[in-house]
């Protein structure tokens, strides 16, 4: 009979313990008792500064101009880039503000000569003004969707959550601030035939035509349309750290993007695209900014229910001293998964790039706590720089 059997001893499998006492579970992994001789590892078996295995695959979607699937552990982001033409005739006030770029340029060159600034400065300012077209005309439209049933909390078909909206905004902000996409790649030029001298009709969207136009006389050269890139990211599976995966997917998809050759057909008065795949051009991106996120896990088990948490300088000193004696009280965890994200409040997000071996920080965010300061951030920048190398390899292989 079942009743005669002795009741089983009260033991919990680790998975249940993890659900009941998440904080204690992770803490026990990170600071195992000295007698057990176990290394300090996270609950998912990673070192504190270790990222999850990352893989990327480009060109997965055939109906887009560029696409990528990036998988960071169990977080998977699919990104598709769709290019659409925006004729300048459809831009409100285009004829007023930009119709005569020659005139604008000429005016700028005269001002540069009169103010006796170097020509280099003038062209720089000019370039900056032209780059701002991406921002002014909204030529990059990223959108991130979490409503795919990617995690239990996200109902499919629901309106975009605050998290999805802020991630979209972060991607857009980063695209603008890094100036990743060149405005020149997105322009469709038309050389108005002069009929007087050389009757060569230059209708090209590539860079050397523009370079030539800028050097020599660029009379009669006008922009007829822009490419607008719709960058759609779907988080198919969410297990923490959505931003890193989403940004890597955007980056991989943009690297994969090919724009068909487009030109202005003066007879039909419309922009026509070439069907030939060989004529399609890739975007030439500026740099390769790579995102790496971190979270801070605090060992203070009481923090969950203690009423007043007022750290002061003395307490900080104590924590530091403990750290020196090998008793760590807080851990900065790289690439947190969903479980760790739920247990930490402080987040750090770093986006770094490398130019000629030198690490350049493109974005540095830290919020939600006071554990990370200058010294910790410096270490994190180094970790992020290492991460940059590995992500670069992954993106170059795919």
């Amino acid at each position: 009979m079942a009743s005669s059997a002795p009741p089983p001893a009260l033991t919990l499998p680790p998975s249940q313990f993890a659900r009941l006492q998440p904080h204690a579970y992770l803490l026990a992994h990170l600071s195992p008792p000295a007698s057990s001789n176990q290394p300090s590892l996270r609950a998912n078996g990673r070192q504190p500064a270790q990222f999850r295995p990352t893989s990327a695959n480009t060109g997965s979607l055939t109906h887009t101009n560029g696409s990528a699937v990036v998988r960071v552990g169990d977080t998977t982001a699919v990104c598709g880039v769709r290019a659409e033409l925006l004729p300048t005739s459809d831009i409100a006030a285009w004829s007023v503000s930009h119709a005569s770029p020659d005139a604008r340029k000429r005016q700028q060159s005269t001002t540069t000569t009169t103010t006796t600034t170097t020509k280099n400065d003038g062209t720089d300012a000019d370039a900056a003004a032209e780059e701002s077209q991406i921002q002014d005309l909204h030529l990059l439209v990223p959108n991130l969707s979490l409503s795919t049933g990617c995690a239990p909390g996200f109902v499919p078909g629901a309106p975009p959550s605050a998290l999805a909206q802020s991630l979209s905004h972060q991607i857009l902000g980063l695209l603008h601030s890094t100036r990743l996409v060149r405005a020149e790649d997105l322009r469709v030029w038309y050389q108005v035939p002069t009929f007087a001298g050389e009757e060569e009709m230059e209708v090209d969207a590539d860079a050397d035509a523009e370079g030539e136009g800028r050097k020599g006389k660029n009379d009669g050269k006008e922009i007829k349309a822009f490419w607008v890139l719709y960058i759609d990211v779907m988080i198919v599976s969410l297990a923490g750290n959505a931003f890193d995966a989403a940004w890597a997917a955007v980056l991989a998809a943009l690297r994969d993007t090919r724009l068909p050759r487009a030109w202005w057909d003066a007879d039909n008065e419309m922009v026509v695209c070439s069907e030939a795949v060989a004529e399609a051009t890739r975007l030439s991106l500026r740099g390769l900014p790579v995102a790496s996120s971190f979270c801070v896990f605090e060992a203070d088990a009481a923090a969950g229910w203690r009423a007043v948490i007022v750290p002061d300088a003395a307490e900080e000193k104590m924590i530091e001293e403990d750290q020196r004696r090998g008793m760590q009280r807080r851990w900065v965890l790289a690439d947190p998964d969903g479980y760790e994200e739920g247990l930490s409040q402080e987040r750090v997000c770093l986006v770094v790039d490398k130019e000629m071996g030198k690490t350049v920080i493109v974005k540095m965010e830290k919020n939600g706590g006071w554990a990370v300061d200058g010294r910790e951030l410096k270490q994190l920048v180094d970790i992020a720089a290492e991460r940059w190398e590995s992500v670069k390899q992954i993106l170059e292989l795919c």
């Binding site: 900056a128 921002q135 909204h138 605050a162 998290l163 909206q165 802020s166 979209s168 905004h169 972060q170 857009l172 902000g173 695209l175 603008h176 601030s177 890094t178 969950g304 229910w305 203690r306 009423a307 007043v308 948490i309 007022v310 750290p311 002061d312 300088a313 900080e316 409040q345 402080e346 987040r347 790039d353 030198k358 690490t359 350049v360 920080i361 493109v362 974005k363 540095m364 965010e365 830290k366 919020n367 939600g368 706590g369 006071w370 990370v372 300061d373 200058g374 951030l377 410096k378 920048v381």
Partner: protein, 249 residues
């Protein structure tokens, strides 16, 4: 450098409110706080032992969009660590903070809210103080722009920010911790450390620690530290509120 000015308890119906003007960035923010309030519905979604913090940012001329969601997220995370949501009467209730941008440059699509962020933070803090919400600490924040020559500019206007190499928003707690850092643009770590030093001086004043451990407060180009300005605003308000009592005594 013209110091920011603020008024507390400007709205009658809200539990607490503050209006804040920062002349150098041209921002003008009106904030209100209602706490603790019962939040409608979804009681199961609320944390049982903590207050739920809701932040709404309302731009002056347009409906709130994606950018506002992002700033609301930043403010919510930061204030969540400052507000003592476990005090009596707060768990399972809400702290609702509404910030309306009533003046200054409007923020375009995809533009970062960085220039406005310190003003939003200060308004939220003052409104929380006005509503007597228990806080573990106060804070002060500033925005700095670094231009191409490496010069650090305090509280840049929108045009300055557009041409800057990088923009940094830093918030320090009253105890000197770095609470928030939002940096954008390209820079290296040494630049950031200089920015951090300068920001700390703006918020707390320059602290010169002499050999015998004495701390001397020095006035520098940044004038009075922000922390003091905020403190004085609250002191003035308290003095005005208790005027009847102080004068009677």
């Amino acid at each position: 450098m013209v110091a920011p000015s603020a008024t507390l308890s400007v709205l009658n119906r809200a539990d607490g409110s503050a209006s804040y003007q920062c002349p150098s960035t041209g921002s003008n923010i009106l904030g209100s706080v209602n706490a603790p309030v019962e939040l409608p519905g979804r009681r199961d979604a609320l944390k049982p032992e903590d207050a739920t913090i809701e932040v709404f940012v309302k731009p002056g001329t347009a409906p709130a969009g994606v950018g506002e969601r992002y700033v609301e997220g930043i403010l919510k995370t930061m204030l969540g660590r400052v507000i003592l949501g476990r005090e009596k009467g707060y768990p399972r209730r809400g702290v609702v903070i509404t910030l309306a941008i009533i003046g200054g440059e409007s923020v375009g699509r995809g533009d970062p809210y960085l220039i406005l962020l310190p003003a939003l933070l200060h308004t939220a803090l003052l409104a929380l103080l006005s509503a007597s919400v228990p806080l573990s600490m106060t804070f002060s924040a500033t925005v700095l722009a670094v231009d191409e020559s490496g010069q650090i500019r305090r509280e840049p206007s929108a045009e300055d920010a557009a041409t800057a190499q990088s923009i940094h928003v830093l918030a320090f707690s009253s105890k000197g911790h770095l609470l928030l850092n939002e940096s954008q643009g390209s820079f290296d770590f040494d630049t950031w450390e200089k920015v951090r030093q300068r920001a700390s001086a703006i918020c707390h004043g320059t602290q010169l620690v002499s050999a015998d451990g004495d701390i001397a407060m020095a006035e520098d180009v940044d004038g009075r530290p922000l922390e003091g300005t905020l403190r004085e605003t609250v002191e003035d308000q308290v003095y005005r509120d208790y005027n009847w009592k102080i004068n009677a005594a």
